[in-house]
């Protein structure tokens, strides 16, 4: 085994790219759950975003328009979830699972004509002198704009939840919708907005896969990333900063296991391939054992003003 052939600078650089889709999706889902709604349809919204973004980027030649369309497309799907769960009071778990199935089916239908096509992709952002800094330049300042957008999103979500009135209202709705309602806040409206935000973020994550990371469209290409995003929210105990840590940890393990293989590590490959999933389960178990969840108190509970 020659571990010196693994370059930590490049490892971190590729980790950031690899983790961006799940980071975006997990950030959106965290906001949704903070408002007290459990949307299990992240996978479906991601893949819908992946195909919508790809189709629009191919047809217009503009990856930026692709990302906007991806956010809009996935938010539309999330809106269906919002209407079903907020107005018609359907079961959130079942509706979310349904959303995943719908998203997977719909995307492969839309995607048929787009198989095997190259798409326009995002260029690396030119950060001028920053990119020329010896180690940090290659590691941190040589990515495309979406990587920085996802990081800015983490900071923005953290700041909004912590410091603003809007963030306080969102958290109040998520902790006790009855109290929030009694105070005169529009519980359903707040939740609907959160659901739309979550959908848009998941869509961006999906489009990052199909437009930057791969970049091509393939049926089922999210391959479970949405479920990992859901797990990361729990892993992070609903805190923005920890979502970032969780997403990079997961992205890191995926990239690290392939790097270890390439470096000739004498570790069973099957175990390495499964390691990201094993570690996620392990962390979830540890959190449960500790008993400190930090979950919003109204998470998953339906709300109606008459109750």
């Amino acid at each position: 085994m020659d571990l010196t052939s693994i370059n930590p600078v490049l490892l971190i650089a590729s980790l950031m790219v690899s983790a961006t889709p799940i980071l975006l999706a997990a950030m959106g889902e965290m906001v949704v759950e903070k408002s007290g709604v459990l949307n299990l349809g992240v996978e479906g919204m991601m893949i819908t975003g992946a195909i919508t973004g790809f189709a629009i980027a191919v047809n217009t030649g503009s990856p930026a328009l692709g990302f906007i369309a991806a956010a809009a497309g996935a938010a539309m799907l999330a809106l269906a979830f919002g209407i079903l769960t907020q107005f018609l009071l359907s079961n959130q778990v079942a509706t979310g699972l349904g959303l995943t199935l719908v998203g997977l089916g719909l995307s492969s239908l839309i995607g048929k004509p787009y198989e095997g096509i190259k798409s326009p992709t995002l260029p690396r952002l030119d950060l001028g002198p920053l990119s020329d800094i010896p180690v940090l330049g290659r590691m941190l300042f040589s990515h495309d704009i979406m990587v920085y957008f996802s990081l800015a999103l983490v900071a923005a979500v953290w700041a909004v939840l912590k410091f603003t009135r809007a963030g306080l209202v969102l958290r109040a709705v998520g902790e006790s919708h009855d109290a929030a309602h009694a105070l005169g806040y529009k519980v359903v409206r707040v939740r609907l907005l959160a659901i739309l935000f979550g959908g848009a973020c998941a869509g961006l994550g999906g489009a990052y896969l199909s437009l930057v990371r791969v970049p091509q469209w393939t049926e089922g290409m999210t391959a479970g990333a949405g479920w990992i995003a859901l797990a990361i929210v729990v892993f992070a105990s609903w805190r923005a900063g920890r979502v970032l840590v969780g997403a990079y940890l997961f992205g890191g393990i995926t990239v690290l296991q392939l790097n270890l293989q390439a470096a000739g590590a004498q570790v069973p490959v099957a175990l390495l391939s499964a390691s990201p999933y094993l570690i996620t389960i392990l962390v979830l178990v540890i959190i449960s054992v500790r008993g400190v969840h930090g979950a919003p108190a109204s998470l998953g509970r339906p709300f109606h003003a008459s109750h």
Binding site: I6, G116, N259, Q261, A270
Partner: protein, 365 residues
């Protein structure tokens, strides 16, 4: 006028339809492991199927099913196809081996053709494969000559003889071309997962590998290599992948050559035999001489002398003068596998479960 044309063409279509029906076309069905749009393995099988239709016209009807998971699901698809009137069914992935044999037992009148497998448990099951290792030998030679870092990579799918054979052939000829070359193998444990294939390519590129060949089905590794901007190279796998020959800005693309699986000759031959009554159960393993393994156009990124050497190797294999596994070749542990001048027999190749000398790492179980 328009309506009349419409009616006339409808009548024509109807009469054509009945005419074709009267001849009772032979129905050939195909089961694909990935989407036709993968641009690789499945795409190439589908090209073969289309060539078959082209060859026989109305005498043959084709049908196919894409993205059929290996395992129990495929058994359902096969049964469905058998019930829907298929006369011959081609199952185009290794993992369909047991389902193919299981369904074949229930439908003795239907012919089954399984690609890359070895089980023919019933008289109506044939197997077919192509000698991809011949193509791997040629790209291995090119890789050995082209690498600047002396590190070449192989994105492997599953540890089955087919893949191990490819790894050995690739490395053997890279080493002959460049004794200092080192081979890096990563196991993706998938035939088709573009994100993972891209990550595997990225991991190798980050570690200084500059020529990569893939044994997975998508074009994602080439797309990842393209990001290196001309300092790393790769090969089209299964299909020509000509889209990666030049970049959008006109510079040479990452694909310098390709190994093309040309299934059309085999499909045309077998369905033809079925129609004229000479069909028999066989185990087919054809390669460059039969035109089933083809090296796609070499680009100018390859130096002219290396192109000439590669072409000479192609010619020698096609003429039957050179077998890529010709001794002396030792096993990884140093023991002798083939003595000087000895040629590997097909049985050993089809069951290959060892690396040759010089490859580091172990084959996973």
């Amino acid at each position: 006028m328009k309506r009349r044309t419409l009616l006339a063409s409808a009548a024509l279509a109807a009469s054509l339809g009945t005419a074709a029906f009267a001849q009772d076309p032979t129905k050939a069905c195909f089961v694909y492991v990935g989407p036709i749009g993968d641009g690789g393995w499945t795409y190439q099988h589908h090209q073969g199927a289309l060539a078959l239709k082209e060859e026989y016209g109305d005498a043959v009807e084709i049908a196919w099913q894409e993205s059929v998971p290996e395992g129990a699901d495929s058994e359902r698809v096969l049964t469905q196809m058998a019930l829907s009137g298929c006369d011959i069914i081609f199952t185009t992935s290794f993992g369909y081996m047991d389902p193919t044999n299981a369904v074949a037992a229930q439908f003795p009148d239907i012919k089954f053709e399984h690609a890359t497998g070895y089980k023919r448990e019933h008289p109506n099951v044939s197997t077919y494969n192509a000698r991809f290792y011949e193509g791997r030998a040629v790209v291995g030679h090119i890789a050995g000559k082209m690498t600047q870092t002396n590190k070449i990579g192989y994105i492997a799918s599953f540890p089955i003889p087919e893949v191990i054979m490819g790894i050995n052939s690739y490395f053997l000829h890279a080493q002959k071309a460049n004794p200092d070359v080192e081979l890096v193998v990563t196991w993706a444990y998938t035939w088709f997962d573009p994100a993972k294939e891209a990550d595997a390519a990225r991991a190798m590129l980050d570690q200084g590998v500059d020529v990569i060949t893939a044994h997975t089905d998508s074009t994602a590794p080439l797309a990842e290599i393209a990001k290196e901007g001309g300092s790393a190279w790769g090969f089209g796998q299964a299909s020509d992948m000509a889209a990666f020959m030049t970049n959008d800005d006109g510079t040479p693309g990452p694909r310098v050559a390709s190994i093309i699986d040309e299934w059309a000759p085999y499909y045309i031959k077998r369905v033809g035999q079925l129609m004229d009554g000479t069909y028999e159960q066989i185990d087919s393993w054809a390669g460059m001489p039969e035109g089933e393994v083809v090296i796609g156009e070499m680009t100018d990124a390859i130096p002219a002398d290396v192109q000439a050497e590669a072409q000479a190797m192609i010619d020698a294999i096609t003429a039957g003068e050179y077998h890529p596994f010709t001794g002396p070749i030792n096993r990884q542990d140093g023991s002798v596998w083939l003595a000087e001048g000895e040629v590997a027999d097909d049985g050993t190749l089809l069951g290959m479960d060892f690396y040759i000398e010089g490859i580091t790492g172990e084959i996973p179980n």
